[in-house]
């Protein structure tokens, strides 16, 4: 009978349960997505080649577990608040505590298992969709990527079910130890924003110190190695929480002193914020961290993405070279409208490739000479035969040769000495277009044509020049790019569902406040404006903290990236801000729809 009653309660509040389920499904789906990459060792090995990445993933996994813990605690208190009244009623009509405990336990676990299973399924689909999208739009090559990865699914299931078992136990104790009457009226709890200056000062100083230590260890990752990531993880999580906790109350009290706080509904909005302060500090710290992770991941992914063509361009002055090109191939080269194009004749002996010095003097060969230690700073130098013979960069000519000729020494002969050689003469046509990236498809076709009569052109990455370098480097960095973007999207979605969950779970309680304001003669514009402002504060605060975290966190990647991780960060920041804004607008719309019916 009681089970039937419990089911009726479930049916009556399906809307609230929908919020609960969608939040939990999203959370477990993202946890699965992350684990599908993090626990897939063969994927990590094949695609990164950097051992640190696998460690970063492990720490990321720990962080996500912490976030999940808080998130489930949150979801559980939402569930509990929904059911308190019902269970209080059951007790009033004389249900036994043991029976009620059983029901609570069962319900919590049922919600958890169903949501987690759905989440894993959804996560698999999401992994599939997002990875296809990224691979296609970024032109990546990935190996061993599996959307369905059993160990990840198992890990997700174990973590979530374990947490829900704990949550069920917690609910059991809370509900059976609380008197029935208190359960019925648990919603009207006093909550006065309290200022405790000493404790706040301690939190501010402690939080700042913790964050400083975290930033420092990220910047000194070369010395600390994986310990540094661990330190940063713990200190930044705690520091962020302390700072939010200490500053938020003070900030609202301080804002109330301004005249503008007493115009329209501003004071109402501030009071709303301070009313739920303790819930908000937790969620805001989490959102700030997720914001930093998502933005950091996307920025790094973009950094790697941007780095690939730069590295390719720094590898050689020429896009490609063809040996004895046919007429069709020459036509294809002409169609590319090359910036420079030169034919060098050569003869191949056992240990050397012989060129005619006069040709090089008439048409100097350009090498890219490194400037300083930076791999990407170079000077283009035109070399005569004599200069090239002495230059340490003459290997760039060798690279453009095919087959076994790449490692042979280049020797520049006088015409008479060259003509005496008995070997057959071949032509090496080198050319450079204005932009190798823009011409990738045409270059691909050209190599394919060449491969028809010369087996050396069958494997494009074995060739020399920018085109082949691009292909090599891109496949090398594909994994890192993919992880950056993939995790960025995953964390953004997690952040979205966290905030969404928080805001929607508070909306029901806000409904009567907004109705009251309406009765008092508040215009619709004032009401929507108040909602916009309240939610904007909740978005902006963690956003600011998240951006600061990212700016310092990028220090970690100066050891992994050739370029500075800070170059061109405005682009990912702008894209992220756009996504964040869209998400803000959606949240405002949904909230308004719930509250202002």
């Amino acid at each position: 009978m009681l089970t039937k009653l419990a089911m009726t309660g479930f049916k009556n509040r399906w809307r609230d349960y929908l919020v609960l389920f969608s939040g939990l499904i999203m959370s477990s789906a993202i946890f699965y997505m992350f684990e599908a990459l993090a626990t897939n060792q063969s994927f990590l090995k094949a695609n990164t080649g950097i051992s640190l990445v696998s460690i970063i993933f492990q720490f990321g996994s720990v962080l996500l577990t912490i976030i999940t813990l808080v998130y489930i605690g949150y979801a559980n208190s939402f569930l509990l608040s929904m059911r308190k009244r019902d269970y209080g009623l059951f007790m009033l009509v004389g249900a036994r505590k043991g029976k009620i405990g059983q029901l609570i336990w069962l319900e919590t676990l049922l919600v958890g298992v169903v949501a987690t299973l759905a989440g894993i399924l959804f996560g698999t689909l999401l992994t599939m969709g997002i990875s296809q999208l990224l691979i296609n739009s970024l032109g990546l090559t990935l190996h061993h990527l599996a959307a369905w990865y059993f160990p990840a699914a198992l890990k997700t299931l174990i973590l979530y079910v374990g947490l829900f078992l704990l949550a069920g136990l917690f609910n059991l104790i809370t509900l059976t130890k609380t008197p029935a009457l208190k359960l019925l009226h648990s919603n009207d709890q006093p909550n006065r924003p309290q200022l405790k200056p000493v404790w706040q000062a301690i939190q501010i100083i402690g939080g700042t110190l913790l964050i400083a230590v975290g930033y420092w260890s990220m910047a000194n990752l070369d010395k600390l190695q994986m310990l540094g990531i661990g330190i940063a993880l713990v200190t930044i999580v705690m520091g962020t929480y302390f700072l939010f906790n200490a500053i938020f109350v003070g900030l609202i009290v301080w804002l109330k002193h301004f005249a503008v706080a007493h115009r329209g509904l501003n004071n109402f909005t501030l009071s709303q914020l301070s009313f739920r302060i303790h819930n908000y500090t937790k969620i805001l710290s989490i959102v700030a961290l997720l914001f930093a992770l998502a933005l950091g991941a996307i920025t790094t992914g973009m950094g790697f993405h941007r780095q690939v063509p730069m590295m390719a361009n720094a590898s050689n002055a020429y896009d490609l070279a063809l040996v004895n090109p046919t007429k069709t191939e020459r036509d294809q080269i002409r169609a590319l409208n090359p910036k420079t194009q030169t034919d060098y004749h050569f003869k191949v002996a056992k240990k050397a490739v012989y060129y005619q010095a006069s040709e090089f003097n008439a048409h100097p060969f350009t090498t890219l000479n490194m400037r300083g230690k930076n791999q990407l700073a170079f000077k283009a130098v035109d070399n005569s035969a004599k200069q090239l013979q002495k230059s340490q960069y003459s290997y760039q000519l060798g690279q453009l040769q095919t087959d076994g000729n790449q490692l042979k020494a280049a020797v520049f002969l006088t015409p008479s000495a060259y003509h005496k050689l008995a070997q057959p003469e071949k032509t090496l046509t080198v050319f450079a277009t204005k932009d190798v990236i823009a011409n990738l498809p045409a270059l691909k076709r050209l190599v394919k044509t060449a491969a028809k009569h010369d087996a050396n052109y069958k494997v494009a990455t074995n060739l020399g020049g920018r085109y082949a370098a691009y292909l090599q480097i891109n496949s090398m960095y594909s994994g890192l790019q993919f992880m950056g973007f993939f995790l960025g999207v995953a964390f953004l979605a997690m952040l979205a569902s966290c905030l969404m969950f928080k805001i929607l779970s508070g909306a029901a309680a806000d409904q009567h406040r907004y109705q009251m304001l309406d009765k008092l003669g508040t215009t619709h514009r004032q009401l929507t404006g108040a909602i916009r402002k309240e939610i904007a504060v909740l978005f902006i605060l963690p956003g600011i903290v998240g951006v600061v975290h990212v700016l310092f966190g990028l220090q970690m990647f100066k050891f992994l990236m050739v370029t500075s991780p800070y170059t061109g960060i405005w682009l990912p920041f702008l894209i992220f801000a756009g996504l964040y804004l869209i998400y803000y607008l959606i949240t405002v719309k949904i909230y308004q729809r719930i509250v202002l019916q």
């Binding site: 709890q189 115009r263 008092l520 003669g521 619709h524």
Partner: protein, 252 residues
């Protein structure tokens, strides 16, 4: 005493349910006027339509037909910002369950109607303090609603309703959640405000004691005004007895 009407209600009907489906007529043609400075009570049993009527008068709901005019302004077709402005400037509400915003202090709750109209902080403070001292809640201004007793909460609600100097004050069972001494204090306060500041008050109640503070009582039964009772110069105690007698016969 000038007998200018502050509110006129003409042939008010309210039908619930869509045409074609099962309909229920809650109000079946109500006519009456309230004069400026009058203290009028509306009585009726549960389901008689008195709350429905109040909701129409206070612009919270729209009638199916008929017209309500407050301060020479027809109100039944007000919409959007006009409606909000009208509520903010012309009428004040007091509800049975207080309807205070528990996230704000008493001061902030009382000041809300003024801040909504962007009145300067300098003018708000004396206005709030003035109305608070009149209602005897000056010392509770920094408290949050959940730190106040029911009677105190209702006086905060009354202060919030009065701060705009509304043309009409509506009360929906304002003493319903109060103990008898708090109820008596609140009703005394209403009489005082009505007497000294000539605020017109319309009180909906099913409690004869609350009703005995009114000058005139309209009895509603099954969506119509069944009877009207005037206090005249009668002492409150006698009027109370008269109400009890009327109720005894009216509800039969």
């Amino acid at each position: 005493m000038p007998n200018t009407p502050i509110m006129t209600v003409a042939n008010l009907h309210k039908t619930y349910g869509k045409a074609g489906s099962k309909q229920y007529e809650a109000l079946k043609g109500i006519d009456f006027t309230v004069n400026e400075g009058e203290f009028v009570g509306i009585m009726g049993a549960s389901g008689s339509g008195k709350t429905t009527l109040l909701n129409m008068l206070a612009t919270l709901d729209q009638p199916t037909s008929g017209e309500v005019t407050i301060h020479q302004q027809p109100i039944t077709h007000l919409k959007g910002n006009q409606l909000a402005d009208f509520r903010a400037k012309e009428i004040g509400f007091i509800f049975q369950d207080f309807n205070l915003l528990e996230t704000m202090t008493a001061y902030e709750n009382i000041a809300l109607p003024l801040t909504l109209q962007n009145v300067a902080m300098k003018q708000i403070k004396p206005a709030v303090e003035n109305v608070a001292s009149q209602l005897g809640i000056a010392e509770f201004l920094t408290n949050y609603p959940n730190e106040l007793s029911g009677g105190q909460k209702q006086r905060v609600a009354a202060a919030r309703a009065l701060i705009n100097q509304p043309a009409m004050l509506f009360g929906d069972e304002p003493t319903g959640a109060l103990d008898s001494s708090s109820a008596r204090e609140l009703l005394d306060l209403f009489s005082k405000i009505n007497r000294e500041q000539a605020v017109s008050i319309l009180l909906v109640t099913h409690d004869p004691f609350s009703a005995s503070y009114c000058q005139r009582i309209l009895f509603i039964k099954d969506g119509r005004i069944g009877q009207e009772l005037k206090r005249g110069d009668l002492p409150r105690k006698d009027f109370y007895q008269q109400i009890l007698d009327t109720l005894g016969t009216f509800e039969q």
